[in-house]
């Protein structure tokens, strides 16, 4: 790495763009391909559509086996012909499974699943970019995608084939298969994750015996993500699948599902990369609440507990989620959470970050939320009033000020009596505070005067100002001497004071 001159650094740190440009892309070799001793060449087989149906099955198996050979795509010059043959074969297999009936005989299942496993199950390469920021950087795409894509396509068509029999397939599509599939969700390639999402969705739908296992594994992945690694690329896709599962929950909700909501989904909101999967997460949460409205209170309290304190981008997301929740909330449930919720909203509208304030103020443009507020105006208005009134005078952003006007006007129209009462008590409070401040100022001024007028006394008599005030009326000289004596015994301040007082009393007479 060449050294960077001081002038290129900002605040003493190297700029990220400069660091990135310097990083050289090393070509990775995968150990997958080094085990193949001799380069394999594929010989083209006849087309399935040209083969009489009696022989199709055999040819089908041969082609499947052919596709078990893996090719190194990082090396862009070798095996070009074989790669093309494999690609064409895979394409053909996809079509074959999609268009012909009676293809999925029992004996075919092992070869099919074997081909799939061989091609897709692999250890994912370590990321090229150790500082991979999913929001900023381009993902590293899977190099063997020309083949991989077709294998995934084939797997999907296989699952969706009308002749597909889960009872036979379950011997091969078992827990081990699912586990390996889930690991692939960490792929950086979004196309791969998209396929995996659809595939896992179909597997969950068709293999009832695997459902509990799948749910448990997803649980583990999320918990590991939240509490240990904070790294997993497939959170959004898994949440999307969960959304369709939650949507289908039977009522009453099982305790397991409620646990999942509170122990996994709510804490998931604390992840640093929330922006990548927030839409899916919010959807899941709202689905839960539509299924069981009594979950509203714990959910909202959970969100309030994890409310972002320093990340404004996250705060905006949380506010969006709260609005989505309020859109479906039942009025009786709303009453239980309105006070803590609006205390938080009241802080948000006063937030110096204009996007947070805007998003919170925009709640008042939602008809349903307005109707909820209206019903409970006597509780909510006192909570909101103070910060709204304050920021109408103090906020730097003119758009916010205009929105505050809208909100205040709306609230005023809901209950003008209460509004007027709050206005006058707020003003009275402000007057009181102003008065206190004035009094404080006056007091300081008075103390200042003392300092200026009685400089020598104060120097000697630093322990006890009250006696200074007393001594002002008395003979200063005698007291001066005595006080000097007193200060010469610094060890016992109390004694010094008592000495002073005792001595001054006779003078006071």
């Amino acid at each position: 790495m060449s050294t960077i001159s001081a002038s290129e650094k900002v605040d003493g740190f190297t700029r990220k763009s400069v660091r990135k440009a310097q990083r050289q892309r090393k070509s990775q070799g995968s150990s997958q391909y080094r085990t193949q001793s001799a380069p394999v060449e594929l010989s083209p087989l006849p087309q399935l559509k040209d083969t009489p149906s009696a022989e199709q099955q055999e040819l089908f198996m041969q082609k499947l086996n052919q596709c078990c050979v893996l090719f190194d795509f990082l090396d862009s010059v070798t095996d070009l012909k074989s790669k093309e043959i494999k690609r064409a074969t895979l394409n053909e297999l996809v079509e074959y499974v999609s268009t012909y009936r009676g293809v999925l005989v029992e004996s075919a299942y092992p070869d099919i699943t074997n081909m799939i496993c061989t091609n897709i199950f692999r250890a994912l390469p370590p990321s090229d970019n150790p500082d991979f920021d999913p929001e900023e950087d381009e993902p590293t795409l899977e190099v063997s995608w020309p083949h991989m894509q077709l294998v995934y396509e084939f797997l999907l068509r296989f699952l969706e084939n009308p002749d597909f029999q889960p009872s036979i397939a379950k011997r091969h599509i078992d827990q081990k298969f699912v586990l390996q599939l889930l690991e692939l969700f960490d792929s950086e390639d979004p196309r791969e994750r998209d396929f995996l999402k659809t595939i896992l969705h179909r597997i969950y739908g068709k293999f009832l015996g695997l459902r509990a296992f799948i749910r448990k594994q997803i649980n583990n992945i999320f918990l590991q993500f939240i509490y240990e690694t904070e790294h997993f690329n497939g959170v959004a896709e898994l949440l999307e699948i969960l959304g369709s599962i939650i949507n289908g929950f039977a009522l009453p909700l099982k305790a397991e599902h409620k646990q999942f909501l509170m122990k996994v989904l709510i804490p998931l909101h604390t992840a640093k990369s929330l922006a990548l999967f927030h839409a899916q997460l919010a959807y899941c949460v709202v689905q839960f609440l539509e299924k069981d409205p009594t979950l509203t209170e714990p959910v909202i309290r959970g969100l309030l507990k994890y409310w972002p304190k320093t990340c404004s981008q996250k705060e905006v997301m949380f506010l969006g989620e709260i609005e989505e929740i309020l859109d479906v909330v039942e009025p009786t449930q709303f009453k239980k959470v309105q006070e803590p919720l609006f205390k938080q909203i009241s802080k948000c509208v006063a937030n110096a970050h204009f996007q947070v304030a805007e998003r919170a103020l925009y709640f008042w443009n939602n008809d349903y939320i307005l109707s909820l507020i209206e019903e409970n105006i006597d509780k909510i208005l006192p909570i909101m009033f103070g910060s709204l009134y304050r920021i109408s005078k103090e906020h730097w952003n003119p758009t916010i000020v205009a929105l505050v006007y809208n909100v205040l006007k709306t609230l005023m129209e809901m209950n003008c009596t209460l509004f007027d009462e709050l206005t006058s008590s707020y003003k009275a409070e402000r007057q009181r505070e102003k008065k206190k401040e004035q009094e404080r100022d006056e007091l300081w001024k008075k103390l200042d005067q003392f300092k200026l007028g009685n400089a020598p006394l104060v120097q000697n008599n630093s322990h006890s100002i009250p006696s200074v005030q007393n001594n002002n009326n008395n003979n200063n000289n005698s007291n001066n001497n005595e006080s000097q004596e007193a200060t010469s015994t610094p060890s016992n301040k109390d004694l010094a004071v008592t000495v002073e007082v005792e001595d001054s009393t006779p003078c006071a007479k």
Binding site: E160, S167, G205, G209, I245, A402
Partner: protein, 322 residues
């Protein structure tokens, strides 16, 4: 201020109030206008006055400013035929004029801010022109004697005579006056009478004999306030105040308000709430397949083919039947 001086001031104001009354015929015309006409209706005017109150409150102007602004507005509307589209410009000019009279210069909100917050479509120069027109038409009589003037006087008189533990809350009275002024019918009342009715209401509510005596005293002092007049307005005021104090909320008219947000927030608002792509998977579904193409391949094993998954029927993935 001692009682005698106050009473004198009361008389002086009482003699002047007539010159600041809006023309009764004009007000009646507005009251009788049906909404949707090319003329201002009572509902129009009332809604505008409520807007003025919101603005007054928002900009921390005093009740005095508000009452004065309403007075100027009513006087102007009673003498001129106005198109409804000009009403917001006129009302805002009245507010600005009133503020210039009552408020300190440092507390005056600049006109562009007034227009922006009031969400009006006209310009600052429009506002200036309208102010000149209004001032001219009202013969530059901007400092009016209003119901608030009387209310303050009555309050001071009561305070000076009464050494009661109970005192009248001026804030409350002002709020009640504001509620009354939001209805055009109260602009027909003489300010002294209106204020006295309000005073009487409140005094009766707190049931102070002493204060009641004082209100009678005031009435006698201002000889031309007839019992019947006071009674009439007293009833109307009572009705208005009971509506004001009721816990029932009026449905807010927020649709008229513009909600302007920054570009980023606007993008955020519309980006979410996309329809989910993956179809629902019902929990614990053991349903028999309805699709006859699968009947022959159904095994009697524990797993039933849940081809009730609508997903299989979508798009190019569904295999053609042979």
């Amino acid at each position: 201020m001692d009682a005698v001086k106050l009473m004198k001031e009361l008389r002086v104001n009482y003699e002047q109030e007539a010159s600041y009354l809006p023309k009764e015929t004009g007000l009646s015309l507005i009251e009788s206008t049906v909404q949707g006409d090319s003329r201002i209706s009572a509902k129009c005017r009332d809604a505008k006055v409520e807007d003025l109150w919101s603005l007054t409150s928002f900009f921390d102007y005093t009740t005095q400013t508000f009452v004065l602004a309403v007075n100027l507005l009513d006087r102007f509307l009673a003498m001129m035929r106005i198109q409804p589209k000009h009403l917001s410009c006129i009302s805002l000019s009245c507010l600005h004029m009133a503020a210039k009279v009552t408020e300190e210069e440092c507390n005056l909100t600049p006109t562009d801010e007034l227009i922006r917050i009031g969400q009006c479509r006209f310009t600052v120069s429009d506002l200036c022109r309208m102010e000149k027109i209004v001032a001219e038409k009202l013969n530059f009589k901007s400092k009016a004697v209003t119901a608030l003037t009387f209310l303050h006087l009555y309050h001071q008189i009561t305070a000076s005579y009464c050494t009661d533990k109970e005192t009248l809350s001026l804030d409350k009275l002002e709020a009640q006056l504001k509620a009354c002024l939001c209805r055009i019918s109260f602009s027909k009342a003489k300010p002294s009478v209106l204020a006295l009715s309000l005073l009487k209401q409140e005094v009766e509510a707190i049931q102070s004999e002493d204060m009641l005596e004082i209100t009678h005293h005031i009435q006698r002092h201002l000889k031309q306030i007839a019992d019947s007049e006071l009674l009439l307005w007293g009833e109307r005021v009572a009705r208005c105040l009971s509506e004001y104090a009721s816990p029932e909320c009026s449905k807010p008219n927020h649709r008229k308000l513009q909600w302007i947000v920054s570009r980023r927030t606007a993008q955020n608002l519309h980006s979410h709430r996309t329809a989910p792509e993956l179809p629902t998977i019902p929990e614990g579904c053991w349903d028999e397949s309805e699709d006859d193409s699968c009947e022959d391949t159904m095994s009697s094993g524990e797993e039933s083919l849940s081809s009730s998954l609508g997903s299989d029927a979508e798009g190019p993935y569904f295999p053609l039947r042979l």
